[in-house]
Symmetry: C2
Subunit: 367 residues, 2 copies
């Protein structure tokens, strides 16, 4: 059988490479055992790319990403590169990928795995069964708005500035994804902005409401200010189903929601572009957690978020729901059995290493 | 004795007026019993001002605020006014006060009251004894940056835009307050931005670091990205002492921190301007909670946050630490005795009304 899916793997920095090794283990298993095979290419992104290639993302890697059927990314960044000039920072590599691949829809499920209910900071009753989807706009807003920079004022002071900007069509296309997601879930969409303070939020609210009225009257739409949303996520997260919000609010709120679950080491994400004529979308998958430089290279990292991101890829990019479910079920079983890395370790039970977790997953898949 | 402190009271919307009545009860008690007296003037702000006076803040009220020794505000906003054009919204009244009084330093303590530990969504161990101070920049950033607005593009689409902007001196003056606060507390300051994504954050970090190196080498300074801060607040809030951050991040993070405490109905805030030659600062005090239109006028609201804001005023504006402590101690005692409004009611105990709480406080002060 020849490889029929082109996968670009970008391990990135910190724990990225070691968790990615465990994903490749599963890819090989799928290649051998299941109907689809993958050709996997690795490339650099982030600080490791800067170190080796002088830029956080080379044009060659960018071209490979554009040509791939899907991209799987580990994580980027770390203190080692924090002093670099802005344009060389690890994050620029990731941001360039998002922007040039036009991945405007970032899906960040925040889900509590039953065996991990007690790992949450929140009281178990508040989070048991939690399953919300944060949909974050990913190619607009203050992340990319112009003008931006640091200038020197006539009086010698400096001024740092950025531009928050959203057009009707930018808002509409991500809102549409939100409504569609809501329809497949509990049919509730909450749109989040600061329309009481920002004009960009006023337009955001108007456009989402108009789209809802026109095309999705069946979806229960509500609006909430970002500060209140942060509160409500802590107070009673289960009130939400799908939340759609802009790039910056989405960055903060999705991290907050992820942490609520206590399962940060478990959470995947998908960043999707527009569908082409054949219905295919450009797509990049990555764990919600960061590069965790403090534990990098020690075999302590939890590879499950990246593995779950790979499963999400199978589902969203390749319609391989069955294979995705195989992996997700195997993960749930391992957790229930107490096979855990240090971040989610069970009291009185030795944690397993990154590699051991990968191997245990293969063993579970084999059964 | 003639009144020697000029206090402007702006009850605002929703539960604002009824909680303010209870503060006035305490003001009267102080007038009668203690060494300082107050002349209290009331005026309108927010939706109620718009309804009665056609604008969320009249020039006359603005002038009164400028002339007062301190301003105490209830809360503004509500669904009734959400459809108004941007410049008539209740929030504009509050924002104008902040801007024209130049109240750049917003102190938002997030504190857990021992009798309310169980009211938190978080596990008791994570929040018991929690006492952090969020210092939010209040007159800059995307709240006030120009250009801003909604424009129509050549292709007929609309575009909403706002400007995030900070100058060296804007950052420095609020950071200085942060370092000073840290010195009076546990000597730890965490500065929060998105320097990995925004140039305004790059400048923010630089300026805070330089000020620390120069004038506050004794204060332990750290930097954190806003998304990570949201996570860390949920994961382990006690790691923080003072957090200093910009207007927008401060809006979200302080609400998140407030909700962690489970004592939202208890939390005060102070917004301070620069000190003049005599060391006096313009100041506005308000509860962290909002106008809660759903329970307005029903006598259900908890007046303690506004009362604690008044106590904060005694401390920060009038150096009346002893009187402030009298009120704060009385509040703690009431809580411990189980005298609680509905939001923090004790199981098996009937909650008290807004008025009953105010009266109970006076009774407690009398003992
Ligand atoms: C690494 C950083 C640029 C990025 C962001 O701010 O978007 C990260 O925090 C995320 O949420 O994916
Ligand atoms: C009412 C609103 C304008 C205000 C803000 O966004 O600053 C409020 O949320 C606050 O935090 O004081």
């Amino acid at each position: 059988m020849t490889a029929n899916k082109k996968l670009l793997v970008l391990p990135g920095d910190g724990i990225g490479p070691e968790v990615m090794d465990e994903v490749e283990r599963v890819v090989e298993w799928l290649d051998a055992k299941r109907r689809v095979t993958f050709s996997v290419e690795r490339a650099l992104v982030g600080g490791s790319a800067y170190d080796a290639e002088g830029t956080p993302l080379t044009d060659a890697t960018m071209a490979k990403a554009q040509g791939a059927d899907a991209v799987l990314l580990g994580a980027v960044g770390g203190p080692k590169w924090e002093k670099l000039p802005f344009e060389h920072r690890p994050e620029r590599g990731l941001l360039r990928l998002r922007k040039e691949m036009a991945l405007f829809a970032n899906l960040r499920p925040a889900q509590v795995f039953e065996p991990l209910v007690d790992a949450s900071s929140l009281k178990p009753d508040l989070v048991r069964g939690l399953d919300i989807m944060i949909l974050r706009e990913l190619t607009g807003g203050v992340y990319f708005g112009e003008p931006r920079g640091i200038e020197t004022l006539p009086n010698g002071e400096k001024r740092g500035f950025n531009t928050q900007s959203y057009t009707t069509s930018e808002i509409e296309r991500v809102a549409r994804v939100g409504f569609e997601l809501a329809r497949k879930r509990s049919n509730k969409l909450c749109s989040v902005e600061k329309a009481n303070v920002m004009e960009s939020g006023v337009l955001w609210r108007e456009v989402v409401q108009a789209l809802g009225d026109k095309d999705y009257p069946d979806v229960e739409l509500s609006h909430m200010y970002a500060d209140n949303c942060a509160m409500q996520l802590v107070r009673a997260p289960k009130q939400f189903d799908v939340i759609v919000t802009d790039n910056l609010f989405g960055d903060i709120l999705s991290d907050c929601a992820a942490m609520l679950t206590g399962s940060l080491g478990m959470l995947p994400s998908a960043s999707l572009g527009a569908a082409d004529e054949s219905g295919r979308r450009k797509a990049l998958y990555e764990p919600v957690h960061g590069s965790a430089p403090d534990i990098a290279g020690k075999g302590l990292a939890n590879p499950l978020a990246t593995l779950m991101s790979f499963a999400m890829m199978l589902r969203y990019s390749f319609d391989m729901d069955e294979d995705a479910a195989l992996i997700e079920d195997a993960v749930e079983k391992l957790l229930a059995k107490g096979v855990r890395t240090a971040d989610i370790r069970l009291e009185g039970r030795a944690p397993v290493s990154t590699q051991e977790m990968g191997k245990a997953l293969i063993a579970e898949l084999e059964t």
